[in-house]
């Protein structure tokens, strides 16, 4: 049992604050870790990276090694890294970089350091903040409430499949596709088989978490030529397990539900301003007044909501 949420604004605003509210209301669904994917104002060049290192005593050496790989790919940090630490052994970072010559090639090389330091999101606008603890705790530690953007995702995790560390929690970035993130409520039963197939194609998975698969699977289908709507539909018959997942791109947020419809999704849509969540009481944190709530509780459902009332190509 996990809790997921999404938020879309018509114009850039305090999306971080709303996501914290949505997740705070669902903390009882999983308080191991909480994560947020926030889509800020997109930059023209350069990427924002979010990630973690496993041992803060090795931080300087980690960052130096990381920077060396960047330079091999004709890129560099364009500001001082922002580091957040607390009593835990791990540390979290935010780094702005210039464009590597080939993003996928750089990610592949940078992932060779993933025993020490791990990139958890890369995007012109996407930033994934995830850490152990409840919504308020993670938000206060990383300043999530102050984050400005157009849309985003949230996740409260009850770990069933893999370790309780920030890197094994949601949202997951669709490594190495920039600006794609997912959150998932459920369990994927054939993830090992799928992961094996995708690894043979050259994709890299850094955790034992079943949900990491979904982001890469959908992105790979889109790379092969499917629209997001087609990829979402195809996932229902291709991926086995229990799921309601949401996938975000700079253009919007899509969702898919499995054939048995065990995991709920409720949505409030007010003129293109949207709040989605596992539980209705969460979306009521954002829209407190009585209003119409859409329940996506049938089997095999998919849908896409565009940012800023954009129509996303079906």
């Amino acid at each position: 049992m996990c809790g997921i949420a999404g938020r879309i604004l018509n114009a850039p605003g305090k999306v971080g604050n709303d996501l914290v509210e949505l997740m705070d209301a669902q903390e009882h669904r999983g308080a191991d870790s909480t994560g947020f994917a926030v889509y800020g104002i997109p930059r023209d060049t350069g990427y924002v990276l979010r990630g973690m290192g496993f041992d803060k005593s090795r931080m300087d050496a980690d960052l130096e090694a990381f920077r060396a790989v960047l330079k091999e790919h004709k890129a560099d940090m364009i500001a001082d890294p922002r580091i957040v630490t607390d009593a835990h052994k791990h540390y979290c970072f935010r780094i702005e970089i210039s464009d590597p010559a080939d993003l996928a090639a750089w990610v592949r090389d940078a992932d060779d350091l993933s025993g020490q330091i791990e990139i958890q999101s890369c995007g012109r606008s996407l930033e994934i903040i995830k850490d152990t603890g409840g919504a308020e705790e993670v938000a206060a530690k990383h300043g999530v409430r102050e984050m400005i953007g157009t849309h985003g995702l949230g996740h409260a995790r009850l770990a069933t499949e893999s370790s309780v560390l920030p890197n094994a929690s949601h949202p997951f970035w669709a490594r190495p596709f920039s600006d794609v993130a997912i959150v998932h409520n459920g369990q994927i039963t054939d993830y090992f088989t799928w992961r094996d197939r995708l690894q043979r194609m050259g994709y890299r998975f850094l955790t034992e978490n079943d949900s990491e698969l979904i982001a890469v699977w959908v992105s790979d289908q889109m790379k092969a030529g499917l629209t997001m709507a087609q990829a979402l539909k195809k996932s229902i018959t291709s991926i086995d397990g229990v799921f309601t997942y949401m996938i975000a791109t700079p253009q919007g947020i899509g969702f898919a539900k499995d054939r048995f419809a065990m995991k709920p999704l409720v949505v409030i849509d007010q003129n293109g301003e949207l709040a989605m969540a596992t539980e209705e009481q969460a979306v009521r944190r954002v829209f407190a007044d009585e209003c119409d709530v859409i329940n996506y509780d049938g089997p095999s459902l998919t849908g896409i909501w565009g940012v800023g009332n954009q129509k996303v190509a079906a």
Binding site: P264, Q281, R284, N295, D297, P299
Partner: protein, 230 residues
């Protein structure tokens, strides 16, 4: 009967439910406001109590009801009246998934639609839905009646035990091991007796009564494919 108002907001659920129970014990009518779709409101309400909820409520509202009359102004979330044994619950809007799950008695009346698995594993009592019942409604219902006046979604009455699903309107598809039978006049009169107190009798309805095909009651290897469907 004087009225007591309970304000929900962000208060702890235990404190809210204790306030509702205390007011009921004092013989007061209870009106619950500022509900914000919160979960677990009004659990185990006593016989004879009258409790109404303004707006929408979350999961498990009215669960384990032992005889109260409960009124929800708008929508409710999952498992309304789960395990209730007696009493009456009315929902002005829509009911979420698993409405009346495992209930053993009493009546639930939903004025809008009901979500998937309405009446799942119910063991008695009646659920009346004026709209449509969702996917897999009546799943493994042991006893009692689910009565839908506005049609049913896919896989209707899946794996019924001895419960009955009555549908007026379109049924998108039938579940595993279901027989659709022509109800007798006496059986229709029985259903009308349930509908009469809530003013929903209409003699022009074309009923479809669904009961168990009884093939899943005992395992037979020749039925393995039907079992695998579940």
């Amino acid at each position: 009967m004087s009225e007591h108002i309970v304000d929900v907001g962000k208060r702890h659920i235990k404190e809210i439910n204790e306030e509702i129970q205390d007011a009921c014990a004092q013989g007061k009518k209870v009106r619950v406001i500022n509900t914000l779709s919160r979960h677990n409101l009004g659990i185990g309400l006593p016989d004879g109590a009258e409790v109404s909820f303004e707006g929408s409520v979350g999961y498990y509202c009215g669960g384990l009801n032992v005889g109260a009359t409960i009124d929800i102004e708008r929508n409710c979330g999952w498992a309304l009246g789960e395990g209730m044994s007696k009493g009456m619950i009315t929902v002005g809007g829509r009911a979420g998934m698993s409405c009346g799950a495992a209930m053993i008695g009493g009546t639930i009346h939903v004025k809008g639609d009901a979500g998937p698995r309405c009446g799942v594993a119910m063991k008695g009592g009646n659920i009346v839905v004026e709209g449509k019942i969702g996917y897999q409604s009546g799943f493994m219902a042991h006893a009692g009646k689910i009565i839908a006046l506005g049609g049913a979604g896919e896989s209707c009455a899946d794996a019924l035990w001895q419960g009955e699903v009555w549908v007026a309107g379109e049924v998108e598809s039938l579940g595993v091991d279901v027989n659709v039978v022509e109800p007798t006049a006496e059986e229709v009169a029985e259903v009308d007796k349930i509908l009469e107190p809530i003013g929903l009798v209409d003699s022009s309805r074309d009923w479809r009564k669904m009961i168990s095909g009884q093939r899943l009651w005992y395992f037979e290897s020749r039925d393995a494919s039907a079992w695998l469907m579940i």
